[in-house]
Subunit: 282 residues, 2 copies
């Protein structure tokens, strides 16, 4: 959380509220997707856990205050499941984008059943199989980060390989956290290139290996941030390692992608499509 | 990703598609929130990276096939920014919930500017400050997991404390990954209780400490999954540790919450509200 390097927000910037009876993560993620379609900047405020009428009135008050301060209608993305809470926000002075109501009503008609109007997935989520799987996967991925443990590689859903700093660790953690995927990761190091062989612990799991590569230029940049001026970060060394790693992956028939311009979300989505684990049903 | 313990999906289950020009994470997260309002089960298929007309036609073909196979309209949640791609999906046989079009058009009117209709946040995301902060925070949180390093605690945004297995590690990683928060975490162990003092490395950072507690029963359950029958997992020991930790946090004036029935998303959101870092603007 370093300081925002951009110039201060223009005083005419709109205020955006993300209002939810749960964490507000859905409202915020979705709101961001929509707002990035506009070449404007926004002042954003998250109002999570709005699950009583009192809190809803308090939220509406904050929205009305922003209107008074800005002289412009605030924009509201809300995911309030209960109609009475949602109605309070709807009566505020903001422009209300009600994500639930907008889509639940037509779905009730299409599916021929009424929605349960319970509050979110948040209740009992901790006891759900899906949640337990995610936590178990996070622990697994941490214990199998950077080739730390050879134990239980047979229970990995995927084993990421690649040179140091090609993006394996954050990708493994994201796969675990978002999808409950047990992702081990294993560095490809100069020793492996000299022996010209995959690390021996991996040989029997070749079918679940997925490779990450990266351009030598980008790799050198990233490594220089950690160890400026080192041989490890030198462009020639990065060229050598990347070249050897790619050669090895090609020869071994390992699927791989370049992480150079991809976010961990994009890398993870691609891996998921490739390894095609059985899709969760719910 | 252990096997789904639930009975097989009823053959009458609807198929749901999440269609996106990016990762599809927004469409899927949002779709889940809406679908959990219904006491039904769905067969779900993610179609990410639909960013050309060819891919859009291919997606529409899959949707039409699901209609033919199920005998019921599939449900589609889409976040396709480009009109021409979206139009292809709209003409398929599914029930199309177009998240972008539904909200972008009214926002264009409200904001008095046209949307840029560029594809998502995905392009250049890797070069954005926000993305770099997130990756830096993940590295920071990993390096400062479980009291591993006392170095640079001054750059932590928050330091989580609590007994072993109270949820510190997954919460730290989630705060880093989702919000770019540098979250260190530090265990409170029997040594600390005997000395009756916070770990000395933490004393100067008391203002950014946040505590996690948990009921002894739940803690014992979690610890037994890892070390069945150990003293570590025994209920009496868990009662002792939790009691001592809570006493210490109260005495030191440390804010804390119980993680017993809370997901890492809920814990993180609560911490974020408490430590109130300057809100990102964008």
């Amino acid at each position: 959380m370093t300081q925002d390097p951009r110039p201060p927000l223009p005083s005419a910037a709109r205020t955006v509220f993300f209002v939810s009876d749960g964490t507000g993560i859905t409202a915020e993620t979705f709101g961001h997707s929509v707002l990035t379609q506009f070449d404007l900047r926004f002042r954003q405020i998250r109002l999570p856990f709005i699950d009583t009428m009192d809190k809803a009135y308090e939220a509406a008050r904050k929205i009305n205050e922003a209107f008074a301060a800005d002289g412009q209608r605030p924009i509201i993305f809300s995911t309030l499941v209960k109609n009475d809470l949602s109605a309070v926000i709807r009566k505020s002075s903001g422009m209300h984008m009600d994500l639930i109501q907008t889509f639940v009503a037509p779905l009730e008609q299409e599916l021929g059943v009424m929605s349960t109007h319970t509050i979110g997935r948040s209740h009992n989520i901790v006891d759900s199989e899906e949640y337990k799987n995610r936590i178990e996967a996070i622990n697994y991925s941490l214990a199998h980060d950077d080739g730390q443990s050879h134990k239980n590689l047979s229970s990995a859903d995927v084993i990421l390989v690649g040179v140091s700093r090609s993006g394996k660790t954050p990708t493994s953690l994201y796969l675990a956290m978002q999808y409950g995927i047990k992702a081990a990761n294993y560095p490809l190091i100069p020793d492996d290139f000299e022996r010209d062989k995959l690390p021996s612990a991996l040989l029997e799991f070749k079918n679940k290996i997925f490779g990450l590569s990266i351009t030598p230029e980008r790799l050198s940049e990233i490594r220089n941030e950690r160890r400026a001026g080192s041989k490890y970060a030198a462009i020639e060394n990065c060229r050598y390692e990347v070249n050897e790693a790619e050669k090895m992956m090609k020869r071994e028939g390992i699927r791989w992608l370049s992480s150079t311009t991809k976010s961990i979300e994009e890398i993870s989505t691609t891996i998921l499509q490739e390894i095609k684990p059985n899709r969760r049903e719910y």
